[in-house]
Amino acid sequence: MRWSKLYTFNCFRGHHGDAGADGPSSDGAGAVGGPGFSRVVHCNNPGLQKPLKYPTNYITTTKYNIITFFPKAIFEQFRRVANLYFLLTAILSLTPVCPFSPVSMIAPLAFVVGLSMLKEGLEDWRRFIQDMKVNNRKIAVHKGDGEFMYRHWEELCVGDVVKVEKDQFFPADLLLLSSSYEDGICYVETMNLDGETNLKVKRSLEATLPLEEDESFKDFQAVIRCEDPNPSLYTFTGNFEYERQVFALDPGQILLRDSKLRNTSFIYGVVIFTGHDSKVMQNSTESPSKRSRIEKKMDLIIYILFTVLMLISLISSIGFAVRIKLDLPHWWYLQPQKSNKLDDPSRPALSGIFHLITALILYGYLIPISLYVSIELVKVLQAHFINQDIHMFDEETGNTAQARTSNLNEELGQVHTVLSDKTGTLTCNQMDFLKCSIAGVSYGVGSSEVEIAAAKHMASGYDDHDMPLEDIWEENNEDEIELVEGVTFSDDRLMHGNWTKEPNSSTILLFFRILALCHTAIPETNEATGSIAYEAESPDEGAFLVAAREFGFEFFKRTQSSVFVREKHTSPNGTTEREFKILNLLEFNSKRKRMTVILKDEDGQILLFCKGADSIIFDRLAKNGRVYEVDTTRHLNDYGEAGLRTLALSYRVLEEAEYSSWNAEFLRAKTSIGPDRELQLERVSDLIERELILVGATAVEDKLQKGVPQCIDRLAQAGLKIWVLTGDKMETAINIGYACSLLRQGMKQICLSIPTGDQVAQDAKKSSLTTEQAAKESLLSQIANGSQMVKLEKDPDAAFALVIDGKALAFALEDNMKHMFLNLAIECASVICCRVSPKQKALVTRLVKEGIGQTTLAIGDGANDVGMIQEADIGVGISGVEGMQAVMASDFSISQFRFLERLLVVHGHWCYKRIAQMICYFFYKNIAFGLTIFYFEAFAGFSGQSVYDDWFMLLFNVVLTSLPVISLGVFEQDVSSEICLQFPALYQQGPKNLFFDWYRILGWMGNGLYSSLAIFFLNLCIFYDQAIRAGGQTADMAAVGTTMFTCIIWAVNMQIALTMSHFTWIQHLFVWGSITTWYVFILAYGMTLRSGDNYQILLEVLGPAPIYWAATLLVTAACNIPYLIHISYQRSCNPLDHHVIQEIKYLKKDVEDQTMWKRERSKARQKTKIGFTARVDAKIKQIKGKLHKKGPSLTIHTVS
């Protein structure tokens, strides 16, 4: 629980940032002391460190404090144009200009503003509490004389020496001095910075290695001169002056705030950047306030209405001025000679200006203040429904979905592109060892999710393409079995020592040894239970080790030089512990795509174990090592198709002499100094990794979160585009693409990447360009080729996938290329960006958001997704196991990716329609009401007299018409949630904006205009001058006003009753209750003498007059006939999807005709090229093709 705003994408990089980023650390030392490098840290010397020069470690992320809250929050409120307008009218209502009583103007405003401010205040308070939590964490700080004391984080100062213990967060940016390891290394988890879960190694300077005890800091003195605070996470430049020597510092020695110490018992460090100076805090910016598209459009409509308001006010005031000038002197009954300045015949212009204000207030009903209140209220209630939805409740974590801001509910219904993080969002970040191929035999009977579904699909009859997949999913979910974490492998041939009975048991033994030995993981024994957990650099290594343990090869101890394995079945006398001496370890990197260990076993035999990508390993096989190549390749293909990630395992036996000569060369390369050291090492490594013998291959399933493929499938069917942005390697990302069906065999992949350094350099030499330009050129041509390929493709079923890596993305996001890139990306069915930094995630999100101009939704779980989440129109955080940053920055949080489907397809769809209809209706009813006031002016000499009683006007928006529209906003459902899920295509009504386009808005406004005319003029003609009663009495203003008002209440409430398609007792209660309330009110109001001419109006005047009731009926009918005509036309000639489905449901056709219903359900899915369904279709096509070729004798191998 820390800051909500880390890692916001910062578009204006500061001067320092540029300096830091551009100056590589090697030559940065020269810049120290220059501009931007002014920081001087006196280590362990609080006396010398000027206390006020650098801030303390106190952080605050709140917007307000107690003093600034009121002025600032009020200022924020009145930055909204509408609020400012209401404020102005409220102030003016205190003057005699106002046609109403001041309370009726001020009270609603105070309510609205007060509510919003309360909300702001609560949110800020929550932030404050969080800050306090962080500031009050404790850390051991050197107090002098080698003693360390615990202090709060906030009291930490630059130059302090701190001791951080295992699994603690670093309280500030530190320089690593020494660690519990002899060689001064420590392991750091940077999950909160970049979302990567693998551990990173930091290494202290050799000079500070001796500082490994508390006492040694007694006399420790040093000076650090380094760069000024900047937001660049991956650079650092500085000098360390210690014992009269100067050492250059690089990012390898810097421990950043918010990362975590792992696998190391403690470290000592010096504080360099504190509080808001730290790199993490420098990366944070204010979270942008987001508004939904509908709301923005609503603002536009408000402006239009405001223009209309100004216009009719102007007409009124001109009319008034003219009347005053020409007629008032003759109207003796008004005593014009005693006029004040508000209606002075001699100064008509001045009076006109005063009247303009009166008119603006009088017609203010056109811009309903209650609209804002109602929308806020409705959204809060909608959010409440989202929070309460039991279908989005995660039983494991006990979390429900949370709408953290209620502003964006309706935006959920208009999402066009989903940008998803991978780790922790799509996957559990957990690998399952599922299958393996040893010595050309495939083991492992577990099936990947893809296989299970495909098998079921085919079993149920592969001829029927229209068969919906629903059932498969449903059954599939039931099949979910909880297994040991990391192992879903089951095959009795290998388990429980049975492998020794297999024909190739020696190869199998080698295979298991490779699994247990060829890695860089560290075992961690849980002292309580004795079980062992593995801290591995990547989760697949962990999966291998767990699998090896299950097979009886338990890796339990690692020293600097040896690896210890407990083997169960290799010797007759039960479990034996074996030690393997590690001679060399050639690490994995994305370029080598392989990893090798050279070790000596207990018999003194030197073995080389190598695991790596199949293509790399197959290239290096010895002639006699290719025995199993054909079978293994076949298996690898099968695994790949099943969405598994594969590695090939191989070994080599080395002769003592051969090894030592190679080792000498290797040591030489290792100790060589210079820029080509890496190249040298690579070359030497290459020498030994040859002549390998293939043992087999592994297949690991990157465990997807529950329901992810299904969810992606449905979202794809709902017409959403899905982009995956991940920090992972390209291979991993592609594998995941396969696993969640974003990629499949037969899809054409367009891979965009920058060629390796050498190639670019060569190209650059040839064409005399700089390296960067050459890289750009190459990328540009790749994009062009890709676009060409897409254009030339004839097959409508062909699907393209775009895979781009971080480096290429950096160029692709530049101004001149980004549109080309985006156009290509839009053409592709799925897009996967790998190796992207948090900032690039935000940049891609921005590109999509601005380039396509549609709503984007970003979903992620880690701190590295915060930028993306804040940048997107809607940010969704996964409230999973990892930190809370993503959730804190998000607009909605769900506990699992699969809930996204319901959030969008059900709640999004509903909220969008509800809000859209609600706003339209609001404009309708206020136009219908507001304009009647204007018409009346024309008959009252533009004097500003209202035909309605003040109380009617006040109650109109507050009581008499508010509840039905709120119930519309909260409860309306065009179709039930099941149907929403069954017909994902209905979701497209949102992105296409069918319910809030100008046609609809203007239609409703036109309806409002018509209604106002009908209400006013029908009533006027009926009550013109004749008696209204058998008793001969004529109608006065109160009677006419009350009748008109009754008609309005009936008309607008009937209208909303016609609009609603979902009636429960609540809606009935509200609609009919509103009408009843009006009669009750007028009765009650008529009882009190204060009601003036409305005294006893219903009982005595209007109630007994049949003409009153006749007029109400007539006007109500007349007002609603156009809408009836509209829906009749729509229903009979041009029905929308949900209308048809409503009819089907209504007529219970779905029950009668199951096949039709199922067929439509499957058709209702957008034709998609990605997702599970598409994949299964493709697989079926493929198998059919095979069947066709090979004849019917072939039996289909279905995997159970």
Partner: protein
């Protein structure tokens, strides 16, 4: 909300509205009305050019006699109205200028709300105050048929609740119209406001600049072709603002006065509905769309286009 249901709705609206409209029209036709404008007629020819001089000169007799012929049989009660046109009783300045409290409880509640007519030139409160009361209509009518006087009942022409609750029984007019600038009619200071029904009727401002107010009730039938004489005391000044004055005699039905509009409006709305129901029924027959026809779903339509 199926098309069939909508067609039925239209039909039902039409079936109810048209007969009801006809019925209203019928009722309205049975109401007999005599409407006679007299503001110009009653000005002596000599003053036709300068009507204001005529009305302002209290020396000139304002009496004027009209002869009215009854065209239809009028059954008692016959309501007598005065009708003013171009008189903005709904003007904000006018509507605001009154004090309900003073009307009910008396002079001590005189206040600014009655501006500009609340104090007389001596500073005493005017009861009833305000522009509305000050501009009280004061033409009077007497009806004779031959030599027989037709009695006009001027009681019970106002709303009962007004008499009983809004105009005080103990509030008597005082200082009313005693200034130099006299507006409309005067009131008998010995009669409490609750019995000043002319005032009570007048004090209810009308919604439109043309309005009728009840003057009295004739409680005997008038036969066809009878001639009645109306003696008008034409006191009220409508000449300054160019307003028209008429006298109206009308019977009333259950719907009130003669009101053809209501009937026509019902008939028009009803026939519109019937027309629509026929139209949509035709559409429905010609281009039938079976209920829940799946071919209408957007994804199916898209496919058929391809």
């Amino acid at each position: 909300m199926t098309p069939g249901c909508l067609i039925a709705t239209f039909l039902v609206i039409g079936i109810i509205f048209v007969p009801f409209g006809l019925f209203c029209l019928q009722t309205s036709n049975h109401v007999a009305e005599i409407n006679r404008r007299y503001d110009v007629e009653c000005v002596p020819n000599a003053y036709r050019g300068n009507k204001q001089a005529y009305i302002k000169d209290s020396a000139i007799s304002k009496n004027c006699t009209l002869e009215v012929k009854v065209l239809d049989h009028m059954r008692a009660p016959i309501y007598v109205y005065y009708e003013l046109e171009n008189f903005y009783q709904n003007h904000r300045r006018y509507v605001k200028s009154r004090s309900d409290k003073q009307l009910r409880f008396g002079a001590k509640y005189t206040g600014e709300s009655c501006s500009p007519v609340q104090w007389d030139h001596n500073g005493f409160p005017i009861v009833p105050c305000g522009l509305i009361a000050w501009s009280l209509f004061n033409d009077t009518y007497d009806f004779t048929q031959g030599s027989k006087e037709i009695k006009v009942n001027r009681k019970n022409i106002s709303w009962k609740s007004d008499r009983e609750h809004k105009f005080g029984k103990n509030v008597f007019p005082s200082n009313f119209q005693n200034g130099s600038f006299i507006g409309g009619g005067k009131l008998d200071p010995t009669v409490p406001l609750s019995e000043q029904e002319d005032l009570i009727v007048w004090m209810r401002p009308s919604a439109l600049p043309k309005f009728r107010k009840l003057y009295g009730v004739i409680e005997e039938d008038l036969e066809v072709d009878e001639t009645i004489n109306i003696l008008i005391r034409n006191n009220y000044n409508t000449y300054t603002f160019g307003g028209k004055k008429s006298i109206v005699l009308s019977t009333a039905s259950w719907l009130g006065g003669k009101n053809d509009f209501l009937g026509y409006a019902y008939i028009v709305t009803g026939s519109m509905s019937i027309f629509m129901s026929i139209l949509f029924a035709l559409i429905h027959v010609k281009y039938p769309r079976p209920q829940g026809d799946t071919n209408r779903l957007s994804w199916n339509r898209k496919n058929s286009n391809n």
